[in-house]
Symmetry: D2
Subunit: 259 residues, 4 copies
């Protein structure tokens, strides 16, 4: 598993979401509470939108809690839309290219969960990536494939449908060649305009997603687990949901991949 | 805190102690049981004696559990005497020079514990290191200072007395300038001939040390916590002890630093 | 480009080939003389055969010249057959899984050179890797593909023919989809019994390979460039050659891939 | 040796100085032209002033040319005052804490050059650092000491005099205990308001410093070597100079340390 946190709204320092809260993402890298793996120390990553259409990207393989670059970056960079992730590997190597978020052009994508038995059919999954996107396939994770296939299925024009197709595809491959649980997915992604999230599983254990509007910051945090555990107004996203967050709104639709 | 494991006896593969047992050092890097910090992921190190008087040394800053080099090395290298360590930083940076074991000439040293408030008097501690040893002061840990001061006080000729002097010195400095707990120490060190260990604290919480003779391997493991939790014949070293392990024997003497 | 050095013969310390000579592999990582890239600082790797059928493997992403683990390992480990490599990336990321040598079971493989325009047809090349070997495809280099395809074409039974097929295949793909120079190859690989090397190019610039029998060591070094530049008895391997080195002999056959 | 580049003026993207020019700092990490060491691949660092009094700091141990984080950061971050450095170690370990720039509170400092035989009197140099600054002594470089001693001698109130004292001090120590050349110094540092630089040597080989006002950017670059080698209007700073750069001006005074 992994833990992640995202934000969309008025610009704020990345640290307000990533490092400063009581149960910040850094704290969750040491001691997550709603996660199969308490420790998420196989890498860290940040993607943030600022002056350019393409986001900035910082990824490293060390645990987040001791990363001085992360500490400094989050204290210095302000952004209206960003994604942050701490990794617990489900098998693949610890390397920068296996850390999230993944970035292709203006899209950033991160994932918590797994595709069951992925290593058994990784080749077939890789083969579904079209030629023109294959140069973006740099690592060996199921997460990177979810993202690249999503892009090839039309993440730009119809993100919900694209992800339904892709998740359905990988779920089916796992049923044929992989193992249970076939898919568990809490993903967040953005094109720099909107922030999207999906919560889904082939069984009853879809990894959690919460969100909360902050009056003081005038923005919304979307997270794996609440950043301040005593705050009672974190809203849980139901399993089987596709969320679209704008600067001020949230829309939740059913997420029903092809089985 | 940290966790460590050492071995002296007939040559065996490092993995027999470091990676293969149920509750190996790798397992303890993820989930230690008798340790304040469950996770020990701020680096890993191995020192092993083989063809040369000076030991081989491997240290890296990544968590032990995902380190492919560690896995391969421990599976390939055989040694009659080795030290292995997984680190949980007590404040200093994650860097190779702050990982244990430390090696100076034929001596290797590793430590679990801390000197209370060390950062407040690090300068005074550094100042005690004689000119001829200062080039070996490469990091900023209290552990490296314990070692270098031990060497300067005569670790070669009289290891017990040398460590009593040094531990007393740092304990006193902590009382003057630092904070409680003044010192907690479970250290293991070797000159390539014998293996030494010290268990001591200024309060009631000296980090644990156990040892066990293996008939099959014809050697002895000396560890922070038993490598196989169901094995009942691990012998606990009492607090306030100085141990001398040879290929076949163990001698335990009282350890009484100057207060 | 990259630089490499290998050895087969009576056991010797790795450092005798990798770090100690005047123009050692470490020196070549800073200042190669017969190489397009003078600096080869995108990673380092060692594979050595000792107690086990599978070799030990050490790989890191930092330049070889400052790597303390490499220094220590090469001074401590003795082996009768080993491969060492310093990397200059031709485009792919700096990560452990893109460093050489690559190891699959008892085979180790390293490469200097490139497949022209590989990134344009990487997907098709990856597709040729059979299911049962795909889990070994961990990075994105052309070198790793050369190796995995070689294994799938029968490196075990008929190494020369297997490599002729594979090199021919990639050469043709480069002609169709890639760019000039289509392939330049100086590769060394071993199954733990014999050491093989291939020198080939689709143009006139096949990267160099030399070898030299050492009377004192009773073994043979096979290298990109002579380890001691004043030694006159390094024998150059002609382009279009497939070499088989045993503990005492060398056999050189023509290497003629399908075009 | 090392190479560095700094900027002060109207905000611009870091990449305009660090990565984009023909002979950018990245290019100089591979192939410097006015430097003893052509390759400067023992680490990279950026310090930049933006929303806060303290600068952001990014440092890593890998060569600059392959660092994806550096590429992304410099493309995304805009700043009115920043320092960037690529390192060639003069002996100390490759670790983040030995990379430049060094940051203490609002001060950032970087250095190209060395103190002759520093390792022989490092202890005495370390001992000059006052208690209240010693916690900032994290590595083992002469550069970090130059900085910390400069701070203790009054870098805040009288930067020129402070550096004259410190350089004189270390020059004298090198004469007593070290070796020739006693000191070579091209340093740049800032408090977030002004940018300072010093060019000095105890012999005839003070490392170079140039500066150039950019009309388009409305800011000034201060560098080890010109970023675009065909631009003729880079002004060389004479040896024995102390420079003060503001947003629009430059003042150069003689730099005369105590001998």
């Amino acid at each position: 598993m992994c833990r992640w946190a995202a934000y969309i709204g008025q610009p704020c320092f990345l640290e307000d979401v990533v490092t400063r809260p009581d149960h910040s993402l850094i704290h969750q890298s040491i001691q997550a509470t709603e996660c199969k793996t308490q420790t998420n120390a196989d890498g860290v990553g940040l993607a943030w939108y600022d002056h350019r259409p393409v986001p900035g990207l910082y990824r490293d393989t060390h645990p987040a809690w001791s990363d001085p670059n992360l500490k400094s970056l989050t204290a210095q960079v302000r952004s209206r839309l960003f994604l942050a992730h701490v990794r617990a590997s489900t098998g693949t190597a610890t390397s920068r290219n296996n850390c999230h978020p993944f970035v292709v052009d203006n899209w950033a994508f991160m994932h918590n969960g797994q595709v069951g038995g992925f290593e058994k059919f990784r080749r077939r999954a890789d083969m579904l990536i079209p030629d023109e996107l294959y140069h973006e396939r740099k690592g060996a994770t199921d997460s990177e494939v979810l993202f690249l296939l999503g892009l090839s299925e039309g993440l730009d024009e119809r993100p919900l449908e694209a992800m339904e197709i892709v998740v359905g595809l990988l779920q089916r491959m796992s049923r044929n060649k992989g193992c249970k649980p076939h898919i568990r997915l809490a993903a967040a992604f953005s094109d720099g305009e909107k922030l999207y999230a999906v919560r889904y599983a082939s069984d009853d254990h879809a990894p959690t997603i919460y969100h909360r509007w902050s009056k003081s910051r005038q923005g919304r945090a979307v997270v794996s687990e609440p950043l301040v555990q005593t705050e009672r107004d974190w809203q849980a996203v139901p399993p089987g949901s596709f969320c679209t967050f704008t600067e001020t709104d949230v829309e939740i639709q059913p997420f029903r991949p092809l089985l």
